[in-house]
Structures are given as structure tokens and as C-alpha cells.
Symmetry: C2
Subunit: 213 residues, 2 copies
């Protein structure tokens, strides 16, 4: 849902959007099918899925033989669903594609709620990546520079739901659950499900999430 709202925001700002998903070995691959659908519905120029095999390094409940736990939101420390360096890797791939396209802006959906323990969801991280991206690429050496936008950074999940509703995002096609089944039906009990449900409740909006029976 975060990625869908970010795409809607970028579209509203007038950007021609090239949407990127990353198949990194996540359990919940139905999010990739959902992303293709959402990208079309929101008018992206194209949607691309790039594969990187993070299962070969493991270290997370999403990419190794570690069980995804029921929600531990509020617990201390970094959760086992944290995928080492995932946002760095995904932004790096986006940076490469941006350079091929000659794009001026990257958009990503990291936000403060996700920083209930994920180090790569903080404003300092995004600022450091923007700085890196401008040193790493033609844009920084020869061009006008590259911006990294994280418009959801300071929003709560309820804010994100409201912003999505305002922009006409159809949340019934988005998949958040870490244990989503092949059809995108959600488990109701993992961190991602719990944060999503709390967001819809706080926004006072009906939650269209399909749950496994």
C-alpha cells in the first residue's frame, strides 16, 4: 500500500513514472503481481521487475528458513523480518535504472512507522543515499543531479490510507502481508498485517484486505 500511494503522489506531481519491483527471494511473491496491476491502474509508463537473489545471503525471516512471527510491533530491537540492506539494494537497482532512463527523481515508500526497528527507513538513510547516488552516477558528474523522494516518511499508516483515498488508490489490489498466499490473501497476524489494519481503523476507512479463511 505504501508503494501504491507513493506512485499516486508522484503521478499527481506530474512525473512520468517507471515503476520498479524487486524479486529478491521474498516469500510473498504475490506482491509482485499486485505491483504490476497497481502500476497499470495508476498510469505508470511501465513496470519492471528486477531479480536479485537475496536468499543466497539469507539472514531474514523473509528470505531464509526462519518463520515469520506473529506481530511483535512495539518490541525492542530490529525484527527478524528485517532483510539486511534491502532498501539499500533496492534503491541501488533503482539508481542504475534511473541512470539508464536519464531520470531526475527516485521515489520510495519508506516511512516512520516502518522505522519501528528497520534502520534503513530513516530520513538520515534517505539523505545519505541521495548523496551517494549523486557521487555514483553520470547525473552527479555530468548532469543536473538526482533527488531521492520519500514522501511518506513523516506519515502514519492512517495518513497514508487517507492520502491514498484522496488520490483514488484502490487498496483492494495492494498486498502488504509478509505471509500472503499466492492469491495475495493476508494472514492477519504478522507485523505488516497489523500495521495495515491499524492504519485503516485509525483513518476510519473500510479495509478491503482479503484474508485467508
Amino acid at each position: 500500500m505504501d508503494s501504491a500511494v507513493v506512485l499516486a503522489i508522484a503521478r499527481e506531481q506530474g512525473f512520468a513514472c517507471h515503476a520498479l519491483s524487486v524479486r529478491y527471494g521474498q516469500r510473498h511473491t504475490s506482491e509482485l503481481d499486485a505491483a504490476a496491476h497497481v502500476a497499470r491502474a495508476l498510469g505508470a509508463v511501465e513496470h519492471k521487475t528486477v531479480t536479485v537473489d537475496l536468499r543466497s545471503i539469507g539472514g531474514s525471516a523473509l528470505t531464509a528458513d526462519i518463520e515469520v512471527p506473529d506481530s511483535t510491533v512495539g518490541a525492542a530491537g530490529i525484527p527478524v523480518t528485517y532483510v539486511p540492506a534491502r532498501n539499500t539494494i533496492m534503491l541501488s537497482i533503482a539508481l542504475g535504472w534511473a541512470e539508464v532512463l536519464g531520470a531526475s527523481d527516485l521515489f520510495c515508500g519508506v516511512n516512520a512507522v516502518d522505522y519501528s526497528g528497520y534502520p534503513d527507513c530513516r530520513p538520515e538513510f534517505i539523505a545519505a543515499f541521495e548523496r551517494l547516488g549523486n557521487l555514483a552516477t553520470r547525473a552527479g558528474v555530468e548532469g543536473a543531479g538526482l533527488r531521492v523522494n520519500a514522501p511518506l516518511m513523516a506519515m502514519s499508516k492512517a495518513d497514508i490510507v487517507r492520502e491514498g483515498m484522496r488520490l483514488g488508490v484502490d487498496f483492494s489490489h495492494t498486498v502488504s502481508c509478509y505471509r500472503a498466499d499466492a492469491t495475495g490473501a493476508a494472514c492477519r497476524r504478522c507485523d505488516a498485517c497489523r500495521l495495515r489494519a491499524e492504519g485503516f481503523a485509525a483513518a476510519g476507512t473500510a479495509d478491503p484486505t482479503r484474508y485467508v479463511p
Copy 2:
């Protein structure tokens, strides 16, 4: 050859080394077999190859249907063999693996000669990546921090050859050529071949490179 010398340097400094290669869609996959051999020969704890499909974004003579040119060293601008964001992507994957391992140091072989046009081979880039890595990971949030080492940064190719000879690197097993054949035999005419040959000549050392007939 740069990666091999870096590994030898890290081993001399006493590090237990986990060697990473990235299969990113490069034409010259014989470098991956060579890397596995070199890692064993230099006493790495393990060698791992992670796949990321950069052919799906293209934009380089190494990963798209663009011909690798004969050497253009000395020409202005960024060469067509530049792979958009490659070093950022490879370091990001290394960062993820380092986090899984609990490693304290990353080593990479970028150097000043490679900066004959590649933006992601500059000291500012390495410094910015180190800063990013410390914001992106557990090491930066909970741990003692992570260092990114680029010991070849200020060396010429001749310096790298001499350092490798001092450390007992067997250069006959390293592959540099962008157009290397399946056996690792080199083309003699691309930028990578030319820089390598000039390095051996300047170091006054016999060059064990095998060339295609």
C-alpha cells in the same frame, strides 16, 4: 587482478575473508570461475556468487546489446563499458551479506586508474557508501560500525601488480578482459586488457595473461 590483490591485502591484515562475486549479467562470466579459484588459492573462508539481473535494465556495453569497443582510454567522458550503479549495487549486496555475517569490514578493489571515467570509483564515493552503510544496518544502529576499505584507491596498475607479486598472487588465474572467452582468454584490445598490459609493463613483470589466438 584488482580483486585478487585486495583479497591478498585483507588476508595479510589478518582478516577472515568471505569473498563475494556478483553475476550481474556481464558478458565475461569466466571472471566468476576465476574468482572462485583465486578465493580458494588465497585462503578465503568461502566464496559466494550472488545473482542480480542487470541485463533487465541494460545501459552498458557489458550488459546490453552494445558492442565492447577497442580501448578508448584517455578519451573524454564516461565509457560505454560503464555499468550504471554497478559498484553501488555490488557494495549493497556485500553490505547485506556483511550484516548477516556480523562482519566489521568491507573490502573492494576500486582504484584511481578505473576512475578514467567511472564515477563510482572515486574516494568520495567510497566515503559516502561507508556513511550510508552505517545508517542502513544493525551495525550502525546497535553495533560498532562498519568500515569500507579500498586499499587500491591511490595505486597505479603497476603498483597493484607489484603489491600482488609481493603477496604471492598468481595473476595467471585472474581474468580482467571485458570480452574474455569461456576459458578466460583475453582479447588484448579492450580498455581492461590495455590497462592490465600497461600495468605489467610498467612494473617490469612478465604478464601471464592468456590471449585468444
